[in-house]
Symmetry: C2
Subunit: 195 residues, 2 copies
DNA sequence: TACACCCATTGCAGTTTCTGTCATCAGGAG
DNA sequence: CTCCTGATGACAGAAACTGCAATGGGTGTA
């Protein structure tokens, strides 16, 4: 028999999500979270560097998945295509976790402290993408712009996906967002020439 | 004669920037900052809600300036043009403060905690932009994308501006970034059709 | 069976961030 | 001269985080 209940980190995350939903992030102490998970405050900080980090456990794993996906894209693809394709490759991952993703997303939306952390995570993802694009021969500034524009598509697409009452796929929303981006940039380009 | 030295908040920001540069953010306590500014820790927290906020003092003011600039753009302009034009309108503001902006930018780049705060500030700026675009009749998703794409242009342009050894203007770099964005999106559009 | 070792968990003390509350006191308004 | 205002500070306390050392089942080894 095991000495301790398994999956301590998972239990902490679960407990944290429950408590944040019940009382809010600010009114939940780390001790509360640890107690509900049957652990102590000290153990919480053995697993997470931060109170915030408890909602961002698998993020390195996720970044790795996306980065690996990029490496599989032929180098001939346009940078923005490469980035968006990598995001599309996470479709199944999220589709399997839609309810969880919705809860988590609502929590983050409701708490500025968590938004901060979410944003750095996404930007570091974008930075990783830009890095790979550069490795693959894209110029530095084009790589940055493709990565950040791709991020805009991901953010808007993801937001729509979470809100979608018809439960259409992430890929569906990413493509819609991408078309929007094209339209928005195109319209500006023509407008700039005309005006 | 004044009872206290004037500009307490400015002195705190100045002291903080010095100390962060000397010892780093983590090794500087709020008490240190307050002491160097000739004040107490409690007074620091009367001015700033946060240790981090000390580097983001004028941000509401800045957002207001940009927002006001947007309102002056004719409604006929394309959303992305509107956003970028608003950023261009801050050219003089930054040009006058280039050395300060460089120092500040270096500090933020060196400290993840400060990057977090910077990102929320920029995203709230983008959200404000999206809001105005919607007021002006742009669809919700197009507004979000124009705002976020505009932000990408701002971020990349600003980064170049800070790094530029030739001291070219912010507007110069924003326009370059904007052309890059157009090229990147355009190339993807054509690539997607072909492939 | 006995022993040594491993390591997830914990206890504890200490620093730092941040909050709430109340006291102080110079200068302006009346 | 008094009252009020608003910037400042003193104090106490909660909560976040860190460093260090101890516990005590599990597991492998003799």
């Amino acid at each position: 028999m095991a000495r301790w209940e398994p999956n301590a980190s998972g239990r902490l995350t679960e407990a944290a999500m429950e408590l944040f939903a019940e009382r809010g992030y600010g009114k939940t102490t780390v001790e509360d979270i640890a107690a509900r998970a049957g652990l102590t405050e000290r153990t919480f900080f053995n697993y997470f560097t931060d109170k915030r980090e408890v909602l961002f456990a698998g993020s390195e794993h996720f970044v790795k998945q996306v980065v690996d996906a990029v490496r599989a894209v032929p180098k001939s693809s346009a940078p923005l295509d490469t980035v968006i394709w990598a995001y599309e490759s996470t479709n199944d991952f999220f589709e399997e976790r839609r309810p969880f993703a919705r809860k988590r997303s609502a929590l983050i939306a409701a708490h500025p402290e968590l938004q901060e952390r979410e944003l750095v995570k996404m930007m570091s993802l974008a930075a990783a993408m830009a890095e790979i694009l550069k490795e693959r021969g894209t110029s530095a500034s084009a790589a940055s712009l493709a990565a950040e524009a791709g991020l805009a598509v991901l953010r808007v697409g993801f937001e729509q996906w979470v809100k979608d009452t018809k439960d259409r796929s992430l890929v569906f929303h990413l493509r819609a967002a991408r078309r929007q981006l094209e339209a928005v940039v195109d319209r500006a380009k023509k407008g700039a020439r005309a005006g």
